[in-house]
């Protein structure tokens, strides 16, 4: 039997900090407000966080490889502009529009991946550049205008309920299950962790580091495409400014959930909890009637708190 020491307890608490924090906030909210625990409110929180949840999912993989993706917001805009534009102006069928959205988003993922992994440019700057490119092209394509009243299948996505649960939430949960398995149980997941833990060692061990990073970005692109479809469905419209600033929230959620900027660690249950925590805190601010301008600042505080906890956790975990 191993002796349980104070340090072990602290380590355990730090490792499950995000879940404890989430539980704590939920507890406070359910005691202090009457509406938090209602089904409508919970579904509302889940719906509000669904887009960020999908983006964080893709970003978590990229973060674990030791890279980053700031482009997701811009890519959402450009892929949406291309897909919805073709439907609205070109008269393309709805499914072709959806495919274009996914394809454009994946092309951006591939560009990010190639530049970062094969040309070895810093991920931060590369994806910052593609963010601008995406955002700019979205404006070029749409001329800055918005498009409303999308075809029926888009509305179907956002208005269908399965046993009382919105289809969108089910899609997000399904994605999490599938990718959770992909990260934890498949060879691709192993390679992602290996590359992020120590790229040199991975290379010596015969892992194709560049290809793994490229795949992570490509997959992130795919998920950005899905997030874009969900977003335009939910709003029943496309607007060129969609997804502005969303990357910072998606990255923050993944980091809160235990992924590290330096790579090698992170998992999707953590990321999901991170997404929920941010959603619940937003919800709390709404329920308490806090001014919208304050909400932005509050989000900043939460992220800061999470990063401080992360730094402390790293220090604790680097001693036995």
């Amino acid at each position: 039997m191993k002796k349980i020491t104070g340090k072990m307890i602290i380590q355990t608490i730090l490792n499950y900090c995000i879940y404890l924090l989430l539980l704590f906030v939920c507890l406070i909210l359910s005691v202090t407000t009457t509406s938090f625990l209602s089904i409508t409110n919970i579904i509302n929180v889940l719906l509000q966080t669904s887009i960020i949840a999908v983006l964080s999912l893709g970003i978590t993989f990229v973060l674990i490889t030791g890279n980053n993706d700031l482009s997701v917001g811009g890519v959402m805009a450009v892929s949406g502009a291309a897909g919805i534009g073709l439907i609205k102006l070109g008269g393309w069928p709805w499914w072709a529009g959806m495919l274009v959205i996914i394809a454009v988003a994946m092309v951006f993922g591939i560009i990010n991946g190639c530049v970062v992994s094969y040309i070895k440019a810093p991920a931060f700057l590369t994806t910052l550049a593609t963010q601008f490119i995406g955002r700019g092209l979205a404006l070029v394509i749409s001329g800055g205008s918005s498009w409303y009243n999308l075809p029926e299948p888009f509305i179907f996505l956002s208005s269908t309920y399965v046993v009382g649960i919105p289809l969108m939430i089910i899609i997000v949960l399904l994605l999490y299950v599938v990718f959770h398995i992909r990260l934890g149980k498949t060879i691709f997941g192993r390679r992602v962790y290996a590359v992020g833990s120590n790229a040199d060692s991975a290379r010596v061990s015969g892992i194709n580091v560049s290809k793994t990073i490229l795949f992570a970005y490509m997959q992130c692109g795919l998920l950005v495409g899905i997030a874009t479809i969900l977003q335009v469905s939910r709003m029943n419209s496309f607007w060129a400014a969609m997804g502005t600033g969303i990357e910072s929230q998606a990255i923050a959620a993944a980091i809160i959930g235990g992924a590290s900027m330096s790579g090698g660690v992170g998992n999707l249950t953590g990321t999901f909890a991170g997404v929920l925590l941010m959603g619940v805190i937003n919800n709390a601010l709404n329920l308490y009637g806090v001014d919208a301008n304050w909400q932005e600042a509050a989000r900043g505080f939460v992220i800061m708190l999470a990063i401080i906890i992360d730094a402390i956790r790293n220090r604790y975990n680097s001693v036995e």
Partner: protein
């Protein structure tokens, strides 16, 4: 008693489990170049750490210019005129020469840098060290390695240096650069500066040093005038030790040829490399740091490029462009830096044991990992190689050096390569684990694998290998069979004697 610039008396230092210095005396005359020789681990660097104030000695006294000094920090030592030049240079590549030289004391006036003084002072110093053709405004990154070393020496000059310690200054220099360095050393000597010169290259030691001190196992063996000695004498002073507790390989049955390398070449790093490794054989490559030994195996493994030459596996010519190719044809490489390239230290023992082998334990369908097979393999590894860890989930960083190295070896054995290449396999590994690793390797030869070992430890390479190649300055200069090799022959061929 003659005038001594530096006198160290009865220096003792112990680290947990090892007495690094057992009462060492050392003296340095004014304007003398004093060579410090000894095998790895003889205590040279530890002694110099005491002199530089990097670490505190347990016992002993140090006098500089007859005055007793006690150093608590490196800057204490610097104030007394002791300057170090390390193997890894400490320059700022993006700053110019002038700023690098005066970085610790930039001429300033109310916190603005006095540029004209800075650059004119630098100009003067550059003349002194023979770099007059360079502008003080040139950035360090545009200088050759040897020139950088000179800049580093120039930095020491601005600090009113009395004693200059050069730790293997020539290991990364070309012949031409070594000449300039030696010219400068002689110059400094005339200016009355005393120099301690640590090197593994005997020819250089004979070339530049007035006196030589030989250390072995934390003790000073002798201090001799260079004129009164020769290579043989020095080599025998350096080894001296009994060969009692050495691993001795038994039985050796070389089978068919596995790996053959023909005329491998890469620029200045290595040329005309020819050797082969047979099944059931352990071949050693002995040479000093910087002799090109690691570069050769890294090229064979596809981590670095080679310009010319052929590599064969079982008679078949192969092209290696990346480690993936090398692994596919049955080569495994354990690099010399375990933490950087061997392990993923933040991952678990489990993860590391399988890191070279994800394909083998994943199912074809959707690439799911076969957790049961994985766990079985890991448990077998732990047992067979007696890796000491409380659980498979423990992070690799919390294991001892020996156990970490066993994990890296196991990782490769799981891949079952035909030829396993090990670069300094027991660096930072305690004695017990060392012998276990030797036995593991010997066991593998019985299974028909070929093993190629790079080592700078004589005992290790002689006890372990059936054949030894000696490399010096990028060329294989000698080859010895098990019956032929001796410490003297290995040391002499690898260092290059004084006659030349």
């Amino acid at each position: 008693m003659e005038n001594l610039c530096l006198e160290m008396m009865g220096i003792q230092k112990a680290y947990p489990g090892v007495r690094a210095l057992k009462g060492v005396d050392f003296s340095l005359k004014y304007g003398e170049v004093h060579g410090l020789l000894g095998e790895n681990g003889a205590g040279k660097s530890t002694l110099m750490k005491m002199l530089g104030g990097v670490e505190k000695m347990d016992q002993g006294e140090v006098y500089i210019g007859g005055e007793k000094v006690i150093f608590y920090t490196p800057s204490d030592a610097q104030k007394k005129g002791v300057s170090f030049i390390h193997q890894e240079l400490s320059l700022f590549p993006d700053l110019d020469i002038a700023t690098n030289i005066f970085i610790q004391d930039l001429p300033q006036k109310s916190s603005f840098i006095r540029a004209e003084k800075l650059y004119s002072d630098t100009k003067e110093i550059l003349n002194r060290i023979g770099l007059a053709e360079h502008s003080p405004r040139e950035k360090i990154k545009y200088l050759q390695m040897g020139e950088r070393q000179l800049v580093e020496i120039a930095r020491c000059l601005t600090m009113d240096t009395k004693i200059l310690v050069l730790d293997e200054p020539t290991s990364s220099l070309t012949k031409k650069e070594v000449e300039i360095l030696f010219f400068l050393i002689r110059n400094l000597k005339e200016q009355g500066i005393s120099i301690i010169f640590i090197s593994h290259r005997l020819d250089e030691v004979f070339d530049i040093c007035d006196r030589i001190t030989v250390m072995r196992d934390g003790e000073k063996i002798a201090t001799i005038n260079t004129k009164e000695t020769n290579t043989n004498r020095l080599v025998s002073l350096m080894i001296g030790r009994e060969l009692s507790d050495r691993f001795e390989r038994t039985g050796y049955q070389a089978d068919k040829e596995l790996l053959r390398v023909e005329n491998l070449r890469r620029g200045e790093k290595f040329q005309d490399i020819n050797f082969s490794v047979h099944a059931g054989e352990i071949v050693g490559l002995y040479g000093l740091m910087g002799s090109g030994r690691s570069e050769i195996v890294r090229s064979i493994f596809g981590l670095e490029k080679y310009e010319d030459g052929k590599i064969y596996m079982e008679g078949q010519e192969i092209k290696v462009k990346s480690p993936i190719d090398a692994i596919d044809i049955g080569i495994g490489l354990i690099t010399e830096n375990r933490r950087e390239e061997g392990l993923m230290i933040r991952q678990s023992v489990y993860f590391n044991l399988l890191a070279a082998n994800f394909e083998k334990y994943s199912k074809k369908f959707l690439g799911f990992m076969d957790k049961k097979a994985e766990t079985e393999v890991c448990e077998a590894n732990i047992k067979e190689l007696s890796i000491k860890t409380s659980s498979l989930k423990k992070k690799a960083q919390f294991l001892s050096g020996g156990n970490q190295q066993k994990i890296v070896i196991a990782k490769w054995l799981n891949r079952s390569p035909k030829v396993l290449i090990l670069d300094e396999p027991t660096r930072g590994v305690d004695v017990g684990a060392k012998f276990e690793i030797y036995h593991i390797l010997e066991e593998q030869t019985k299974k028909g694998k070929g093993i190629f070992v790079i080592s700078s430890e004589l005992d290790e390479i002689m006890g372990l290998c059936d054949r030894i190649l000696v490399i010096r300055k990028g060329k294989i200069v000698a080859q010895f069979s098990h019956e032929e090799f001796s410490k003297e022959s290995l040391l002499e061929t690898s260092m290059g004697g004084q006659e030349k």
